[in-house]
């Protein structure tokens, strides 16, 4: 079974981002970039499926700038077999990304596509669901457990009230939540080997996909700052403040 994994290059989760002075966006000059944490979990899940003998080939795909090849090489070092970069320097919306991924799905015909549930930059939480809609596939979003059996996949999902399990016909789309697995680190020999694995570069034009958008970001601002309050000395003082000053209990 072929598994396709989509990964995104984003600002590293440890970086505290700053809004640009002209309010056009956040300042990403000279900040550390990494693979989106949820995408790391997606790669790990695919590698585990291959280790179990369920997956036979793992293709990793990213939509983004030339530099996203770094994240694809990371995925190759973690165990993916080959990579595809759909190169675009533009700031693409989730729908545009989903359309490009749909074109890759048509070309590659995977049985399972695994994506992160959301990217920690745009916080959209849309792409997997949109890809599922465009492909006409079932979707197991926010997955905490994925079990393939025959021509279907059982996905346990983290939902507001607890956990839900759905069964989807393959091919299907899965998006990962935090507790699906704990991603491994790439070993040095595997990092070296990854440099020799195939990496194909495509363009939206070559895939015949329009990336036009109905959304426009007008401005980006820093959130209202919350100022630090006071330190109280005792539990009694805390209770007194909450009752008489804040009046919340």
């Amino acid at each position: 079974m072929k598994v396709l994994v989509a990964v995104k290059r984003v600002v590293d989760y440890n970086v505290k981002v700053r809004v640009k002075a002209d309010n056009s966006g956040v300042d990403l000059a000279n900040v550390k970039m990494s693979m989106n944490p949820f995408c790391e979990i997606a790669v790990e899940e695919a590698v585990r499926l291959k280790e179990k003998g369920v997956a036979t080939e793992i293709v990793v795909v990213s939509i983004g700038p030339t530099t996203a090849q770094e994240q694809l090489r990371t995925a190759l070092a973690l165990g993916a077999d080959r990579a595809i970069l759909v190169e675009s320097a533009e700031d693409l919306t989730s729908l545009a990304v989903a359309k490009l991924l749909k074109a890759v799905v048509d070309k590659e015909q995977p049985q399972l596509v695994i994506l992160g549930k959301q990217a920690i930059d745009s916080d959209n939480n849309q792409t997997g669901q949109m890809l599922a809609a465009l492909s006409g596939y079932g979707q197991g979003t926010f997955a905490s457990k994925v079990e393939i059996s025959g021509d279907s996949v059982a996905v346990t999902r983290e939902i507001d009230g607890g956990a839900q399990t759905v069964s989807l016909k393959l091919p299907a789309i899965v998006t990962t939540d935090l507790r699906l697995n704990e991603p491994r680190y790439a070993s040095l020999p595997n990092i070296m080997k990854a440099k020799k694995k195939p990496l194909e570069v495509l363009t939206p034009d070559a895939l015949g996909v329009s990336t036009a958008s109905t959304n426009k970001t007008v401005k980006v601002e820093a959130p209202a700052a919350r100022s630090a309050g006071i330190k109280v000395k005792s539990v009694a003082e805390l209770v007194e403040k909450l009752k008489n000053e804040a009046k919340v209990i």
Partner: protein, 309 residues
């Protein structure tokens, strides 16, 4: 301009987040219709018809919609939604699951988790875990939007008298089925709707120690949450997680116990009215957003707090 709001429900009751979503629709302006897609959800439709400001309730009652499977519900919403100016759903796990599938079917970009309405086509939403706020304008014929409940005060659940209309459309894609669910049972208020939230972090040390927080919460009538660190460590289940990728809460009072205050946790609670932090590490970042900080051993402070409130 007519807005379609997707009701959040479990076939029995309307979830409170629906009231916040209707509030966002009211800010946009125009007639508000509510869609109840489910099975045997008559009581939900009746309750939805009473929500203040709702003009019409559409009920799609079919076995295919019983568990809100997005493969079946999204085509229904896309079909009905074509005639509307906006389609809104709460940014709950259900809304997040279904609405992007609707947007893609309608070939429009979605706007996720809005926290304010600037005009009928312009909205504000947090990005980068709330470290930046984007103003986004949409020129889509149908604007597809999820609403962060904490950004909008709920409308009244009573006072309306909307007409209820049945929708015949049945969509069963036949590619997905519901297997089962394990829902947390609790007598405490729901995390996202509670006026007071008490949350524990890695400092709780283990799941058993959360009993101290439950005791305090019961005295205060509060809900209990947790940081990602506490959930990842297996102290408590995932439905208790507050943060960027967990639940977003904004209660009157948020008490963070043994929580250091990682960016992704702050993203889920920093809009709370009053924040209290109890942590033995006085350098913990949580103190930078806390109105009242107490540097103390939580195992001494929490029982004392429980006695004094």
């Amino acid at each position: 301009m007519t807005i379609l709001v997707i009701a959040e429900h479990d076939n029995k009751v309307v979830a409170p987040a629906t009231l916040n979503t209707v509030a966002a629709a009211a800010k946009i302006g125009g007639d508000i219709h509510v869609l109840v897609a489910g099975q045997g959800a008559g009581a939900v439709a009746e309750a939805a018809a009473k929500i203040a400001g709702v003009a019409k309730v559409l009920v799609a009652d079919n076995a295919a919609y019983a568990h809100q499977l997005p493969e079946n519900v999204a085509p229904l919403v896309a079909e009905l939604g074509k005639g509307y100016s906006h389609i809104l759903a709460a940014a709950t796990s259900n809304g997040k699951n279904i609405l992007p599938r609707v947007a893609a079917a309608l070939d429009v970009d979605q706007i996720s988790e809005i926290i304010s309405v600037e005009s009928a086509d312009t909205f504000k939403r947090p990005i980068y875990a709330g470290n930046a706020i984007a103003t986004v304008q949409s020129n889509a014929a149908v604007k597809v939007i999820t609403v962060r409940a904490t950004g909008f005060d709920p409308v009244a659940a009573e006072g309306g008298s909307a007409a209820v209309e049945a929708v015949a459309a049945a969509h069963d894609a036949g590619i997905s089925s519901f297997v089962g669910e394990e829902l947390a049972k609790s007598d405490r208020p729901e995390l996202t709707a509670a006026k007071i939230v008490v949350s524990g972090g890695r400092g709780m040390q283990n799941g058993d120690n959360f009993k101290h927080l439950y005791a305090l919460a019961d005295k205060l009538g509060a809900a209990v949450g947790a940081s990602r660190a506490a959930v990842d460590a297996g102290f408590v289940p995932n439905d208790m997680q507050v943060g960027q990728t967990g639940k977003i809460v904004a209660p009157q009072l948020y008490i963070a116990v043994g929580i250091s205050g990682a960016i992704q946790h702050l993203a889920g609670m920093k809009d709370s009215k009053v924040i209290v932090a109890i942590n033995k590490d006085e350098e913990a970042p949580i103190f930078q957003v806390a109105d009242y900080g107490l540097v103390a051993d939580l195992f001494e402070a929490i029982p004392e707090l429980e006695k004094l409130v």
